[in-house]
């Protein structure tokens, strides 16, 4: 029985999507079962931490989503876990106990989306300066482009 099948048996209520090209499975997990599910996935064979990122769906409820990618080396299989995070209380438990590799990714998601990972050992800004305001990858944050100015042009004076 493959890792995925055993996992699907353990969680009969969950929605699994299977995408064939590229071969990967997607699991929509509620926030309260998140930590548990990841731990079980690791036990079932998805023991390689690949990726964690946030997505801001803006008008959807829940607004944010945290996407975790896991990998199983043998047999080769991918599992993508999508967890919704509410906009008014964007808190998820941290994965660092299960996968220490989630550390930087969670800090990045916190930095760019403002999703708080409760229990994270060092949840500070990672790519932006510490005094930065706002979370730039949120959809309501401006790209921050400045109009191109030519220094010698009379208008710029």
């Amino acid at each position: 029985m493959s890792a995925l099948e055993s996992l699907a048996d353990a969680y009969p209520d969950l929605v699994f999507e299977h995408v064939l090209d590229p071969p990967q499975s997607v699991a929509h997990v509620p926030a309260d079962a998140y930590l548990d599910f990841v731990a079980n996935a690791r036990a079932a064979g998805f023991d390689v931490f690949v990726d964690l990122c946030g997505v801001d769906y803006l008008r959807r409820d829940p607004r944010f989503e945290v996407v975790v990618n896991l990998l199983s080396y043998d047999p080769p299989a991918r599992l993508r876990i999508r967890v919704g995070v509410a906009a008014d209380d964007p808190v998820l438990p941290t994965l660092t106990e299960t996968f220490p590799g989630a550390n930087f990714y969670e800090r990045e998601a916190f930095d760019l989306f403002g999703i708080v990972f409760a229990g994270h050992p060092d949840l500070t800004r990672i790519v932006l300066p510490d005094d930065w305001e706002g979370h730039p990858l949120r959809k309501d944050y401006s790209v921050g482009s400045v109009p191109v100015r030519f220094k010698e042009s009379p208008k710029a004076q």
Partner: protein
Amino acid sequence: MSDTPNVVTGDFEAPTTEPPSQPETADSAAAEARREIHDMWVAGTEEPAWMRSYTNEGAQEMLEAESDPALEIHRGTTVTDDFIVEEPADDDELQILNMGPQHPSTHGVLRLHLELDGETIRRVKPIIGYLHTGMEKTAETLTYMQGSTNVTRMDYLSPFHMELAFSLAVESLLGAEIPERGQAIRVLLTELNRVSSHLVWAATQGTDLGAVSMMIYGFRDREYILQFFEKVTGLRMNHNFIRPGGVAADLPDGWEEDVDEIIEKVSRGVSEYEELFNGNPIFRDRTIGVGVITPEECKALGVSGPIARASGIKWDLRKAFPYSGIDKYEFEVPTGKHGDVWDRYLVRIEEVKQSLGIVRQVLETMPAGDYRTLDRKVTPPPRKRIDESMEALIHHFKLFTSGFKVPAGETYQAVESPRGELGMYIVSDGRERPWRMHARTPSFNHVQALPTMMTDSLVADIVATIASCDPVLGDVDR
């Protein structure tokens, strides 16, 4: 920046949520004391006060010294070993040293916060973000057509792999089929790019260990490949050549001879490196047993590519999830045993040879045909048609100004970049621009794994370990 005229990638109707309050930082007095010690660059003698208050750099402190499970994992001390006795080090004996962001061997702007006991590293904290370019945000403002321009600048040593990952992700949403010749060109370019990237690694690995000539040799051989790239794509780096739907142009006439020459010259160069390093006792002493990472740590930290292979994980995305028809070519996946710098050296050198082998096979079996998909939705009409037909001209114009629509959905597509698993996660809302593009970049994990590899080693080993991880800071910070 938020008061400037802006382009918002989302819709305006949505309610703005207040950013959540940041978690309480550590005791502010202690942080202040640390900040006094902290110095940003080498000297620490000229840091004006305004600068400190401007960046608040000191807030990125080392973690508190209490034993914390994550911290233990960080420090690599979770391994219970009867022989290791924790030496209690007095606080006075430890000094904090900032390595970077401007330091000759941090490969750009990586900053390491080191706690030194003499010359021995007790704790390491990598601090990144000095090259944060906001590419994921920029990607949301660019059409899929323009997207590869953006991503190619992430990992500037392997631009073709970035473009390939992006294109594959877009194509998997589009369901586009790429003709065989286009796929073969992609394989040719990415494998040559792997070689050129590894040559830069060889150059920096050598020079960071103090072998100054290696720097020149690596770049000398890389130059041959870059000249070929320039001939094919028009640019030496950041090509924007592999695009959704195929590649931008066909290979130029006489490319066979060029590739043949590259294979010959680079093979000669590689055997020169082996001559320089393989039997060199100093090089062996400097690398064997240095910067060790175990397979379990690799898995938990998401370390991939040559580093994972050097620690014994036989895993290559080209074998496991073949893309772009790479499964048609024969190659071996080299692995190491010990996961140290020496094994990474061997693995990378072998990878160069294997890649050259693939290039040779592509050279011999290059199929004829189209180099891009004939789907009119994503492919502009041929140049000749534009002169003849108004419709073609309009089609061309529309395609390049407003781009093409991609069906709604989300996908994750990964390729084996020279550094490891390079993934592209794209969420499409059915329009011309990606709703969200996230790049899973291998160097990010490798930088994260640096403390595990480095703890309790010497300053000189830090340099060797960083070089062997071959991080590209553009790849880390994006």
